[in-house]
């Protein structure tokens, strides 16, 4: 039996653990410093989106979209996934030109999921949208899921596949053990393993440093707003073209509003803080896009701590300094949708040293140039 340790009990760690535990011959242990889904995995906006991805991410995102369509078969729970579509609206003719150019770019690479629609179709999709919206880019099979429910489903599925999840146990060191194995040291003891995955999110650079590897990656603190429940008026997840906003109505009726407006965070203390002066811009754009929501009461706001790489695409691949250690982090605020496929890819890398899944662009070697 081969042993693997996954550092980090977020969605990516759990997905990696699930896929590896289902691979014959692997005994998997997940080490989570706090509790599963403690940081960005549990509190993100839950967007399941191919629309507007970095061109280098589209291939993996498309694989993941397939997996989301069958998420219940994968983890035994529908994770609250609803394919209500994702819509990027054009607020001007200039915006529409940009969207058309983008759709052309994606089509040229062979993908057809991004579709330009006219004003009449936007109105049909979004009856409450403001009159100045002239068109949109749409991906119909995209949608959203419930983040914490998803994390808990992956946790259960990983456990049922035989993985052990240890909460309240953080890695404080990684060493080369006898006979070429790796040893992950925690405050309560150490774990020998043939393979180790670094899925520690915003704290993954610290793990990499334990292996003597310096990978450039910072943090971000995207803020979110949730309002009171409103009667259903909006099915897709919506964002504008030239302004930062993500807007959706949950199954419960609440509005979930984000879009990357930044608060502040303190990764060392695992705290993050909403800055209302910045968040006010999200509220303003939302109210301008959907005038009917101006009177909706805000129930909560929050922000979290998430890794952000310099080029905003993830780091995935084997460590350059400690063979046997595999990185998967730095999803830069859009890793939720990639969870199922990224976990499958990393598990395959760990088990057989290679994968056919399209993760080549994500090697940390890109930063060496």
């Amino acid at each position: 039996m081969n042993r693997a340790v996954v550092i980090g009990g977020g969605l990516h760690g759990l997905s990696t653990a699930l896929h590896l535990a289902r691979t014959p011959g692997w005994q998997v242990t997940v080490l989570e410093r706090r509790h599963v889904g403690r940081h960005s995995s549990g509190v993100n906006a839950g967007g399941v989106r191919r629309l507007g991805r970095d061109l280098r991410e589209i291939a993996l995102s498309v694989v993941s979209a397939e997996m989301w369509q069958g998420i219940e078969a994968l983890v035994g729970d529908d994770c609250g996934f609803q394919a209500g579509g994702q819509v990027k609206v054009a607020e001007s003719e200039a915006d529409l030109r940009k969207l058309e150019a983008r759709a052309e770019q994606v089509r040229a690479l062979g993908w057809t999921h991004e579709e330009v629609v006219d004003q009449a179709e936007v109105r049909r999709l979004l009856p409450a949208v403001a009159p100045h919206v002239v068109g949109a880019l749409v991906t119909r099979g995209d949608g959203s899921a419930d983040p914490m429910r998803t994390v808990m489903a992956f946790r259960r599925a990983a456990q049922q596949a035989g993985a052990t999840i240890v909460e309240g146990s953080g890695a404080v060191g990684i060493e080369r053990g006898p006979g070429g194995t790796l040893r992950v040291v925690t405050e309560d003891g150490s774990y020998e393993a043939e393979r180790v995955a670094n899925c520690a999110g915003a704290w993954a650079t610290t793990i990499a440093r334990m292996a003597g590897e310096e990978i450039p990656c910072g943090v971000k603190a995207s803020m979110m707003i949730v309002t009171e429940r409103l009667p259903h008026f909006c099915t897709p997840t919506v964002g504008p073209t030239a302004r930062p906003l993500s807007f959706k109505q949950s199954a419960a009726g609440t509005l979930v509003i984000g879009g990357g407006h930044q608060g502040t965070n303190d990764p060392a203390n695992e705290t993050s803080t909403v800055l209302f002066g910045n968040l006010a811009h999200a509220a303003r754009i939302a109210a301008e896009l959907f005038p009917c929501v101006a009177g909706a009461r805000i129930m909560r706001t929050w922000t979290g701590t998430e890794a952000r790489t310099p080029d905003e695409i993830p780091v995935m691949g084997e460590s350059a300094t400690m063979p046997g250690l595999f990185h998967s982090f730095g999803f830069s605020g859009h890793g939720f949708q990639l969870g199922p496929a990224a976990g499958a890819a990393v598990a395959e890398l760990m088990a057989r040293g290679a994968t056919n899944l399209p993760i080549a662009p994500f090697t940390q070697r890109r930063f060496a140039a």
Binding site: F276, A280, A287
Partner: protein
């Protein structure tokens, strides 16, 4: 009304702690902005004191505080709801209306060099089957109606649960001409452990005498007092009857109470503000030093919001906090602060003397007894059974349970259900409540509209 951009001290809450702190801080030349969401000063204990006569000595203290506050030179804002505090002392609030349903309010902000939170106490919920029916409310809510509108209970009114406030309300309601069908005492008499703390409690005999007088007044009025193990509320559209140990009684109004806990809604939302589990009072309280400083620089707490001590203790804690503020702002030397503080500290200790006895005398009711189909979270209609199920699926604390079941996700952010959810999780996990995370609250701790927030985008 416009607000300046900066103030020395922002105080939340015009109860005894906030009023005494504002008066004392003004006495040291500190500029003060005081926010309170009610229509006037007094807090819960001295509610509407400006429009009615004082009921007793303590209430008369409150009336004096209100007078001194009105002439202190503090900037007083009523109908003002604080909803966020950012690092660096930037405080946000909305004003222009009174009450949570008020529309047309406007968001404002100011930078305060010191923030003193005097948010008082909230009632620990007492979830019984049927407690969400119209006609069932908390003793605290009934007390507000009594003080602000002079509403006294009529028809078949039952009061159930445990705790000193239950007896105080019963006595006040009877004194105001109300009638009470009966009191359902769900406690199990005087816990033997309580007597251990009696000698120290006798240091403040007035307090104890008052407590006993309330109970005596209720008994003397001929109100039946029933000791019971179980209670549920029943009715189709509204409360029609209550069932006490499987015996039904007609009922028009049922008032529930299970003691009070510090209101930590704001402090729990501040990153780095540590709270400790108080095993005796069975509640979370912010970690404070002897002056009321929290673990966050510049953020202070005084009064019941820092631990239940009652109105007079709260006022003394407010005065001590004000001296500390004056010292921090360079208006008092350390020696001056300490010299001024001596008498207030003595008075505070005297007020706190009976606390251990009272706390031991009125332990909260056990959460394990809450039936699976009883609703805990009223906003999202989540039952105790759902919370226990979430625990069995691996949720270790209130925040995971929130994400999993939506409990505590409604407008109140767990202000109502928090203590019950926490206790149910701890009991289901069979661990010390101190080991279970409480709800992390999020700013805005009180709702504001998207439009109000949008107006802050310059």
């Amino acid at each position: 009304m416009s607000a300046p951009e900066q103030v020395d001290l922002l105080i939340l809450g015009a109860g005894p702690a906030g009023m005494a702190a504002a008066i004392a801080a003004r006495g040291q030349g500190v500029s003060v902005l005081l926010l309170d969401e009610n229509a006037g000063p007094g807090g819960q204990v001295h509610r509407a004191i400006e429009t009615r006569a004082a009921k007793d000595d303590q209430d008369a203290d409150g009336a004096r505080l209100v007078l001194a506050l009105r002439t202190s030179g503090a900037d007083l804002r009523f109908g003002a709801t604080l909803w966020a505090i950012e690092p660096g002392g930037k405080v946000f609030w909305s004003e222009g209306g009174v009450g949570p349903e008020a529309r047309g309010t406007q968001a404002r902000s100011i930078t305060a060099r010191r923030v003193l939170l005097c948010a008082g106490a909230t009632e620990r919920p007492l979830p019984i089957p049927g407690w969400t029916l119209p006609g069932v409310m908390s003793v605290g809510a009934a007390q507000i109606a009594l003080k602000t509108a002079g509403l006294v209970p009529e028809a078949r009114v039952w009061i159930a649960g445990q705790g000193p406030l239950l007896w105080l309300y019963a006595k006040q309601a009877l004194a105001a001409g109300g009638r009470i069908a009966g009191i359902v005492d769900l406690s199990h008499g005087v816990p033997p452990d309580a007597l251990r703390h009696l000698p120290r409690a006798l240091l403040a005999p007035g307090y104890l005498a008052k407590g006993l007088a309330w109970q005596y007044a209720v008994k003397r009025a001929g109100v039946p007092i029933l000791r019971a193990e179980s209670l549920r509320a029943e009715g189709e559209d509204r409360l029609r009857r209550i069932v006490i140990d499987e015996v039904a009684h007609e009922a028009d109004l049922l008032l529930l109470h299970d003691g009070v806990v510090p209101n930590t809604q704001v402090t729990r939302a501040i990153p780095g503000c540590l709270h400790d589990w108080d095993a005796v009072q069975a509640c979370w309280r912010p970690r404070l030093d002897a002056w009321g400083n929290t673990t966050v620089e510049g953020v202070m707490v005084a009064g019941d919001a820092g631990g239940i001590g009652g109105a007079r203790a709260a006022a003394h804690a407010g005065r001590l906090a004000a001296l500390e503020v004056a010292h921090a702002l360079g208006r008092l030397t350390r020696n001056q602060r300490d010299a001024e503080a001596g008498r207030w500290r003595l008075a505070l200790n005297r007020q706190l003397a009976p606390r251990r006895f009272l706390d031991a005398l009125f332990p909260p009711l056990p959460a394990a007894a809450i039936a699976d189909d009883t609703i805990l979270c009223r906003c999202e209609e989540v039952t105790a059974g759902r919370v226990r199920e979430a625990v069995s699926l691996g949720c270790l604390g209130a925040n995971q349970t929130k994400a999993f079941t939506r409990t505590g996700m409604g407008p109140c952010q767990g202000r109502v259900c928090g203590p019950a959810v926490h206790a149910v999780i701890a009991a289901a996990r069979e661990v010390d409540p101190a080991a279970v995370d409480p709800f992390r609250t999020r700013f805005p701790t009180k709702p504001l509209t998207l439009g109000e927030l949008a107006a802050l985008a310059s």
